[in-house]
């Protein structure tokens, strides 16, 4: 793992992986959405609104995957002091927050025709809203930590601890529909089993793969951005001290 700690080696990999992830991800995700709109038949109970599934569910998965990435990166940063781990955590925050916001917005739009309301304060929706606030807090904290590090402080560790503590919310989101009564349906896809018909399941899995590749490409691009900023700042500091 420490072999990838070298920023030069990481940049060599990211230069070809990032465009590959973004282009293939956009083709797969947009293709799956188009297929969902044109080809997939209406659902017996939900009618045409079932098509919202193909954007809402991948966004929900990526909202949670984003924070899982932050938690793992935080652990690696705190335990092994991997130099790229803090950058990876920070790079996952904005796309994670974006997909969480997309999930909340599309879920609310889906709720209106199916539940008769835009929003309910139940376990699933509330814990997902908490996830969005956690992302916003993490983004603010990591920005402050970057300024603090320039001054020689240890703000990055506080951000990493926040990333680990916030991970408590992920199993709460996952189990919320089992633990508490909710208008939200229970899990449709569990290990090795699916309650979703194949007609909807395959486009959903392709959309999820596509959006995951887009997410990966965005994280790599943001890591390149953060690395370039760090390298430029370091060079400017050396010039100022010379």
């Amino acid at each position: 793992m420490h072999g990838f700690a070298n920023p030069a080696r990481f940049l060599r990999l990211a230069r070809w992986m990032m465009p590959l992830f973004l282009v293939s991800g956009l083709i797969l995700s947009m293709g799956a959405l188009l297929y969902g709109v044109i080809v997939v038949p209406p659902d017996r109970l939900m009618g045409d609104t079932v098509r919202i599934l193909f954007i809402h569910v991948p966004a929900a998965w990526l909202g949670m995957a984003g924070w899982s990435t932050i938690a793992i990166a935080s652990l690696v940063e705190l335990v092994w002091r991997h130099p790229l781990a803090a950058i990876a955590g920070r790079a996952a925050a904005v796309p994670g927050a974006a997909f969480t916001a997309i999930c909340l917005a599309t879920g609310s739009i889906w709720a209106r025709p199916t539940w008769g309301t835009w929003w309910v304060w139940d376990g699933r929706l509330t814990s997902f809203l908490v996830l969005l606030f956690l992302y916003l807090g993490y983004i603010a904290l990591s920005g402050a930590a970057q300024r603090d590090m320039a001054g020689g402080g240890g703000g990055s560790r506080i951000t990493a601890i926040f990333g680990l503590v916030g991970a408590i919310n992920i199993p709460i989101i996952n189990r919320s529909v089992v633990w508490w009564n909710s208008l939200h349906q229970p899990p449709s896809i569990t290990a090795g089993k699916s309650a979703i018909d194949g007609t909807f399941l395959w486009p959903l899995l392709i959309a999820a793969l596509g959006f995951s590749l887009v997410f990966g490409g965005v994280v790599l691009a943001r890591m390149r951005t953060l690395l370039a900023d760090i390298q430029a700042e370091a060079r400017l500091r050396r010039k100022a001290m010379a």
């Binding site: 995700s29 904005v94 951005t225």
Partner: protein, 46 residues
Amino acid sequence: MREGLEQWDYVAAALTIGVVGTLLLVGWTLVAMVRAERRRDKVRGK
């Protein structure tokens, strides 16, 4: 459907938010990356 709601309006709104949000995220990320790498190269004197 109940209340005479037009389902396709909701589908269109949700998909628009998803697609536009994703494309904005990708576009903004790429612009920020190009700008940061250009600034680094300028500082390095390349």
